[in-house]
């Protein structure tokens, strides 16, 4: 295997179009599209490679997605009314709801989760007010009637409990070691780069190869410069999950620090409880007596 191919043995590609599917080095795909017909067609042909579908079209249409391979499907409803109308079907489909409407109060979230729909706030959490974010987190952790998860809180908590850190970069599909985005013309580390055609590789469809471009990775530079530019990050107890994400193109990490601290405390509390229960478990034979 050539070095170039080896470098391209990424686990995931995040695709907006279909033209990369024929390349054998593409391992797994997050497919972002607003056309159900195309999604189903691609799912038929390359279903095993597609691990996640982000459907950006009308959510009524999303019900036509034939999710035969049980991929993770994220949809982006523009208002709550649309969700309520088809909530039963969405629940059956187990789609993740990424609200594309503004979140101004807890009810904007709780009404959706009360219908047993999984909420995914990853794309919008930066825009939610600090106090409201804490209120939602508290609702996730302490509301006993809640039957479903709220992301990213749930994934972070589970990763802490299992001691398998899931990074905020991966949750946001930004990690040059794992993900490339493609618009069919080239591969970029961030979909924002499509606009300026700032590609790491150009795709030569005729020769079925990737042509390496002169490219300076913004993310690589950001990571490498962390000890000098953000020394506090390296002393932060949440670095293994955050890796500077909370300060990437942002001014402050206060909100993320608070979220991660609360989840850290919660995981410790759960672990202590589990330990206590284990130590004080009633042995079946004693129970009989």
């Amino acid at each position: 295997m050539s070095n170039k191919q080896s470098e391209l043995q990424k686990k995931f590609f995040v695709l907006r179009e279909t033209s990369l599917f024929d390349f054998p080095m593409v391992k797994q795909i997050v497919f972002i599209n607003n056309d159900v017909r195309l999604i189903n067609e691609m799912n038929d042909k390359f279903g095993e490679k597609i691990v996640q579908i982000n459907f950006t079209g009308n959510i009524q249409e999303s019900l036509k997605i034939e999710n035969r391979n049980h991929q993770l499907v994220k949809i982006f409803p523009k208002n709550k009314k649309d969700i309520i109308q088809i909530s039963k079907a969405l629940k059956e489909k187990r789609f993740l709801i990424c609200p594309a409407y503004s979140i101004n109060k807890l009810e904007d979230i709780s009404i959706v989760s009360s219908m047993d729909l999984i909420i995914d706030l990853i794309p919008i959490i930066e825009n939610i007010d600090f106090d409201l974010s804490m209120e939602i987190l508290n609702y996730y952790l302490h509301n006993q009637n809640l039957n479903v998860s709220i992301e990213p809180f749930h994934s972070i908590l589970v990763s802490k409990l299992h001691q398998k850190p899931k990074t905020l970069w991966n949750m946001n599909l930004l990690n040059p070691d794992m993900f490339y985005f493609s618009d069919g013309q080239g591969l970029a580390e961030d979909s924002k780069n499509f606009q300026n055609q700032d590609y790491r590789y150009l795709i030569d469809h005729q020769s079925r190869t990737f042509q390496k471009q002169k490219y300076r990775s913004h993310l690589d530079s950001f990571f490498k410069s962390l000890p000098e530019t953000r020394p506090d990050c390296l002393a932060c107890p949440h670095f293994h999950i955050c890796i500077g994400w909370a300060l990437y193109q942002k001014d402050t990490c206060t909100k993320w620090k608070k979220i991660l601290s609360i989840l850290q405390d919660a995981s410790r509390e759960i672990q202590a409880l589990e330990k206590f229960e284990k130590e004080h478990a009633i042995i079946p034979s004693e129970k009989k007596k």
Binding site: N175, F223, K224, A235, P237, H240, I243, Q271
Partner: protein, 341 residues
């Protein structure tokens, strides 16, 4: 030397920590120097008393290990060490000792180093105290490869041997003589490959570290990698200097690299959250996303020891300077890493 009040404070801190920790299961104490056998009998007898108190109160296992040059042993000391090293199950912890067959590499103030060492080994064997040998690989060893490996394979066939490259630390930092003994990263990699080829042909593969650990990890996945390969060193080790100052580990003490605090002022709970500890803890994550990104041997190496980077680059946010040698060894011996998720 550590005073008895500092020793007592250390155990007091340990007790506080045990009382609040949810994850602690057992404790290993490695008595390291300088030379720990220079400490008084009273010192170790007090340590034994304090450990007994912890065992009785918390029902925890404590295993003592010791690293010694064996130059200060006699029958009384050996018997005291045996008591110290014996855990609650009656298992005796190992004494680790450096050994070098070449003359004038290791020097005793009085007498011939290797003769004294041989006598001490006899004392340990008489008391059935297990020991392991640390051999520091230097230029002379490279040039006398066959002599070294035959010696270890024949004379010490039942003994665990750890092979470490000569670090530019402690006495090895000083003087022209040490400079002549330094080896390069490439030489270390070539040595390991040669050593492996010799070792794999032995009828009963002795416990030669790191080879045995690599094989166990690669072929069965059940092994345990040493701290300089596991990427977990900041969570598994804590170095306590003679005055109670806390560092990452023994190598951290040697380098006096970033204090975590001092047991006279800080609890272990404070230490866990200390930024200096976090900086070492976060190094593994940092390397995974920068210099070691995409390295197929990541799970075998984790960027190596932070103190290698501190010595070589004066900055722990670098992978070990032995990266090239490790890659060469793994590529030659194992070719493809086992699937680790």
């Amino acid at each position: 030397m550590m005073s008895i009040p500092t020793l007592e404070k250390m155990f007091l801190r340990l007790e506080e920590w045990i009382a609040t920790s949810t994850q602690l299961e057992d404790i290993k104490i490695i008595w390291h120097g300088g030379e720990p056998t220079l400490m008084s009998m009273d010192f170790f007898n007090r340590a034994i008393e304090l450990e007994e108190r912890i065992r009785a109160t918390f029902h925890l296992s404590i295993q003592n290990l010791i690293q010694s040059n064996l130059l200060n042993l006699n029958n009384d000391r050996v018997r005291m060490l045996k008591t110290l090293l014996t855990n609650e199950k009656g298992e005796i912890g190992r004494i680790g000792t450096s050994y070098d067959p070449f003359p004038d590499i290791r020097i005793a103030k009085k007498g011939d180093y290797n003769s004294i060492w041989d006598r001490s080994i006899q004392l340990l064997e008489n008391e059935n105290i297990p020991y392991g040998i640390l051999f520091v690989v230097h230029k002379l060893a490279l040039n006398n490869f066959d002599y070294i490996v035959d010696l270890f394979a024949n004379r010490f066939s039942e003994i665990g041997i750890r092979f470490n490259p000569l670090y530019r630390e402690g006495r090895a930092r000083l003087g022209d003589k040490c400079r002549d003994l330094y080896i390069t990263s490439k030489e270390w990699g070539d040595f390991l490959i040669r050593l492996y080829r010799y070792w794999e042909k032995l009828d009963k593969k002795p416990r030669w570290i790191p080879l045995k650990e690599f094989d166990d990890f690669h072929f069965s996945g059940s092994g345990h990698l040493s701290c300089d390969f596991s990427g977990k060193c900041a969570t598994t080790h804590l170095g306590i200097d003679t005055d109670g100052t806390l560092y990452s580990c023994g190598r951290g003490i040697d380098r006096k690299y970033e204090q975590y605090g001092n047991i006279h002022e800080n609890s272990f709970q404070d230490i866990v959250l200390n930024p200096a500890r976090q900086r070492i803890l976060n190094r593994t994550t940092y390397l995974l996303h920068t210099q070691c990104q995409g390295c197929k041997w990541w799970h075998y190496c984790h960027g190596g020891c932070s103190m290698d980077a501190a010595i070589h680059y004066d900055n722990i946010y670098n992978k070990t300077n032995f990266c090239m040698s490790r890659k060469k060894f793994f590529n030659t011996i194992y070719k493809v890493p086992r699937n680790v998720e």
